[in-house]
């Protein structure tokens, strides 16, 4: 909390400071105010500086509110987090990218149409094999979630979601773990999902523009 400045009745009133900031203070009062400040009144100097900041912020106006759809989805996050926390058996992991066959050099800025980028993520007892194919409208991500234990059999149960901005694309895994996201626009995508009781997130995936 700010300390209240020591201000005697001889200090100029706030109105004088405000009028001066607005360019409306009469010359005689301005001279008195200047003399007071020149005499070294630290409290009034601080008050004037603070008032200038406040008036500048008032002139700049209030900040713009976020779009209502974003505000609503941010407000829902609390409930989502609580639901996830309630499922103690669910294990959330971040998959690591163990293979990235990026066709282009690391500093490439655009991918050529038809470029294929093969990737392999690993997490917990699962691997995700992915292939990003650049097309005219964006890129397709095709892949398969497979158990690390090659002897494991049975249907694979899970789903994935790819998010970017307000766009969310959801995919249910096929029984053999395959998935496909079509026409991902250039930018940074977040891919999250669940397989069995494992919740996972992939590192952000950069989709480059073609051409």
């Amino acid at each position: 909390m700010a300390q209240r400045p020591d201000r005697s009745p001889l200090h100029p009133p706030l109105r004088w400071f405000a009028d001066r900031i607005d360019g409306k203070l009469a010359a005689a009062r301005a001279a008195t105010l200047d003399a007071h400040l020149a005499a070294g009144c630290a409290a009034c100097s601080a008050r004037e500086a603070a008032l200038r900041r406040t008036v500048a912020a008032l002139h700049a106006g209030p900040l713009e509110a976020p779009p209502p759809s974003l505000r609503r989805s941010a407000a829902r996050l609390h409930a989502t987090a609580r639901v996830l926390a309630a499922f103690e058996s669910v294990k959330r992991v971040v998959a690591s990218l163990v293979v990235d066959g990026r066709a282009a050099p690391a500093f490439a800025l655009r991918a050529a149409p038809g470029d294929e980028r093969r990737m392999l993520w690993a997490m917990d007892h699962w691997e995700i094999d992915g292939c990003l194919v650049t097309g005219p409208r964006g890129a397709d991500l095709l892949g398969q979630v497979l158990p690390l234990d090659e002897g494991a059999c049975g249907k694979i149960d899970g789903e994935l979601a790819a998010r970017r901005g307000t766009r969310t694309v959801r995919e249910r895994l096929t029984e053999d773990g395959r998935f496909s996201f079509r026409d991902l626009t250039p930018g940074v995508w977040r891919i999250e999902g669940r397989v069995g009781t494992t919740e996972f997130a992939l590192p952000p995936l950069v989709v480059e523009r073609a051409g």
Binding site: A65, L77, A81
Partner: protein
């Protein structure tokens, strides 16, 4: 209820599971997070991602915030980090982005535009707490560009023109007190 609750109270309620308190925090600080996302000149979807990722990190880490009263600075930092992460992603993926300003790269330096965003938010919040009459007057006098003449303000707010100056001074004093900048005049 939540409009009057301070940040620390809202954070404590959130951690205890109160969704309405979380909503109030999103309402209160949403404009700050949005302004930080927008100042980075990302494209629309990425601005939205910065906004969403900031709140996602906040909801996941809130219980570890040691000083609930420090929420304002904490959420600002998260938003800034999310913006930087997004821009670093651009660095390898895009050629059309403007260069990242040096102030955005050095995270230890105070950032003038974020200080301005925080100041605008602080002042707008304080204006909403000094009573409707004062809030209406200050908004009428300062929020519009160019500032309207006193005659216009007097007509709009049903005030005598001679009372605008003294009332403005009283309202600025209330605002000063609300902001903790000094004593009332």
């Amino acid at each position: 209820m939540n409009a009057e609750a301070d940040d620390a109270t809202l954070v404590t309620r959130c951690v205890a599971g109160d969704g309405a308190a979380w909503s109030a925090l999103v309402d209160r600080f949403g404009p700050v997070v949005w302004a930080i996302a927008r100042r980075a000149r990302l494209d629309g979807d990425d601005e939205a991602d910065v906004f969403q990722n900031t709140w996602r990190v906040a909801v996941e880490e809130l219980s570890r915030l040691r000083e609930p009263a420090a929420f304002a600075g904490w959420i600002t930092q998260i938003a800034r980090h999310q913006t930087l992460r997004m821009r670093r992603g651009y660095g390898i993926a895009r050629s059309s982005m403007p260069l990242v300003a040096r102030e955005d790269v050095d995270e230890s330096r105070p950032d003038a535009s974020i200080v301005e965003i925080e100041e605008r938010h602080k002042v707008a919040t304080a204006v909403s707490r000094i009573g409707a009459k004062c809030a209406d007057l200050l908004r009428a006098l300062y929020y519009e560009e160019p500032p309207p003449a006193y005659t216009e303000v007097a007509k709009r707010l049903g005030m005598r023109i001679g009372s605008i100056g003294p009332t403005r001074a009283r309202c600025l004093a209330k605002l000063e007190k609300e902001l903790g900048d000094g004593a009332a005049a």
